[in-house]
């Protein structure tokens, strides 16, 4: 928003023309002025404005709302200051997990830690394998981005990835390597890299300060305090994520070819797991039904077709359509699904609390004004039975198409 005061010739013209229909409305209501004897006079009736309910409101925050005063533009998004590091003194390399192609909160914490270690003259290099969907690398604190793509890195290829990282090691010799100590890949990749580079890593690190790092040891009854080594595998919430700077995400290229190895581990792909056996709290994809679902047989069919774990709102459980251990929400299970599909759930606050950790929420509902629609990333307004039927249909054609391709 610009703070430059501009003249408004039209408003001035209306102010001169007392016959103009908008004259009275646009007349600036003076609330205080200097009287002829040098005394400040006030008009208490002109203070404030008429609110939406017809009551007079007085806003003392300074943001006078009821017309008059200065014209304000809609407040624009504040642009954070851009931090440019032209000639970095050293590099901090970060290999984020990129679950679902985006930076997770663990990755953002890690980038925050990397920025803390880099200070003002180091640069943070993020290494991303394969396709990604992230658009906010700049505000997460990435100075340089090394994007490694190719068929070799698709699927489960930890040995090839370690080779790529050791190529980066020989090119930049980063002062620190930071990886998330997570089960989704970072923990494994970091340990493989440590074995390859011959570095002794600090694992499950939750604090790095003044050259010392503290990490959990053993089964979590002890902490290990040591000098921060080159390779750090950090736990969640190891540092605050970057929040008040923007960084140039300058692409970085590897100078040398990455060595190729003959893969000793062959990835044969994911195995179909019965979604009903996955604990709800850690299921990745949940189809949840509520009061708006009338045809429960069709709901179960849809869950089977989608390969989703079933969940339910409290109403559906109370009415006996689903078992109690399937209830999502404050008094049920707090789920962490990546995709949560709510069918006929209006979104009581207790339910919304339970899905607080979910990434993407899809809502199917008849009521366009319910709270679930406000939370959802994609909402379809309409009859749930018809939409579920169409969805089952769409997926079966997709599956058949896939089967034909394979044959």
């Amino acid at each position: 928003m610009s703070d430059i005061i501009r003249r408004d010739p039209r408003a001035e013209w209306i102010a001169r023309n007392r016959l103009h229909p908008l004259h009275a409305a646009m007349q600036k209501a003076e609330t205080r002025w200097m009287g002829p004897n040098g005394i400040v006079r006030k008009n208490p009736h002109a203070v404030g404005f008429i609110g939406p309910n017809g009551l007079k409101r007085i806003d003392r925050s300074g943001a006078q709302q009821g017309g008059s005063s200065k014209r304000t533009t809609a407040s624009a998004v504040v642009q954070l200051p851009l931090q440019v590091i032209e000639q970095p003194a050293f590099y901090i390399a970060v290999v984020p997990d990129m679950i679902g192609g985006r930076l997770s909160s663990h990755d953002k914490d890690l980038l925050g830690l990397a920025n803390k270690l880099a200070g003002s003259d180091g640069a943070v290099v993020a290494v991303v394998f394969g396709e990604h969907k992230e658009s906010a690398f700049d505000s997460a604190g990435v100075d340089r981005l090394l994007h490694i793509e190719g068929e070799l890195y698709a699927g489960y290829a930890p040995e090839q990835r370690v080779l790529a990282l050791s190529a980066l090691e020989s090119q930049l010799a980063p002062r620190h390597w930071l990886l998330p100590d997570s089960r989704t890949g970072g923990g494994e990749l970091g340990r493989r890299l440590a074995a390859k580079l011959g570095e002794r890593p600090a694992t499950r690190v939750w604090q790095v300060a003044e050259g010392q790092c503290i990490g959990r040891a053993g089964a979590g009854r002890e902490d290990l305090v040591r000098r921060a080594p080159r390779l750090i595998l950090a736990a969640v919430e190891c540092a605050e994520p970057v929040s008040d700077t923007r960084h140039e995400v300058r692409p970085l290229e590897l100078l040398d070819q990455i060595a190729r190895n003959l893969p000793r581990i062959e990835d044969l792909g994911a195995v179909a797991v019965d979604p009903a056996l996955i604990p709800m709290a850690e299921a990745e994809f949940i189809l949840s039904g509520g009061n708006g679902v009338k045809d429960w047989t069709q709901f179960h069919q849809a869950a089977a077709a989608l390969g989703a774990t079933e969940g339910a709102s409290r109403v559906a459980v109370d009415d006996g359509f689903m078992s109690r251990d399937r209830q999502v929400g404050a008094s049920g299970i707090w789920v962490t699904a990546r995709v949560y599909m709510a069918v006929g759930i209006s979104g009581a606050i207790q339910h919304l609390q339970g899905i607080g950790a979910c990434d993407k929420v899809v809502a199917i509902n008849l009521d366009p004004s319910c709270d679930m629609i406000k939370r959802a990333d994609l909402s379809v307004i309409g009859d749930s039975a018809a939409i579920l039927a169409a969805l089952i249909e769409r997926i079966s054609t997709h599956r058949q198409g896939g089967a034909r391709d394979a044959a």
Binding site: A219, R221, D223, I265, G356, R375, S379
Partner: protein, 259 residues
Amino acid sequence: MLPNNLHIITLVSIGAHPTSGRARRAEQDARAVELGLRLAGDKLQVLHAGDAADEALRAYLGMGLSELTVLEQSSHGDALPLLSRYLQDAGAQLVLTGSQAETGEGSGMLPFLLAEQLGWPLVVGLAEVEKIENGMAQVLQALPRGQRRRLKVRLPFIACVDNAAPAARQSAFGPARRGQLLACEVTIVEDSLLAEARFQTARPRPKRLKVIKAKTGAERMKAATAKASGGGGQVLKDVSSQAGAEAIFKLLQDEGVLR
């Protein structure tokens, strides 16, 4: 689908009870022993580097083992060189370990370093061995969120198990008393870590505060009372159910949750 002359070695350590800290069999190592017993039966060899007099080791014997090999060293020794020297000549086809120790550093590096030194492939999070034939093993790897991945790996290899592996059987008292602890004399290597690092009782992690960067009181009030709202969500209204289903299908496919 398993050959009957499979040579499997399971590496075990001494665990610590999470509350009392009393020595016990380590949870994940016991799972590794369980997996080994299912694959090789009583031909399973179990190996420990440490003190042979430790009573907690007998809990492994109680799972139905007749003997347990111990490479004798003090608790400050480095287990890695002993184990890698032993495994080089042992001729094992599969070495099973837990993911991380319950005492000491517990960095979980041991299987990775062993694999690097021996030049063997390493499988992390082994859940099940499906078949072994022609020098190749087909195994299931446990992924987060209850997912499984099928891998094919060349023998010999090292695998570490985590909590997705089958739960360990109970330890029985009689077999635990009868089992033999075979101590081997080896040269001891000191661990360099303890020269510079120190252990302290685990402090509870500071809870992260929700920091609200608001300049005015009105903004703070808004941040404190705001309901969870995406705001930027896409709303499809007055569309046919086919079009709605298509949009949902597209999102599910972009997220990669349709298998």
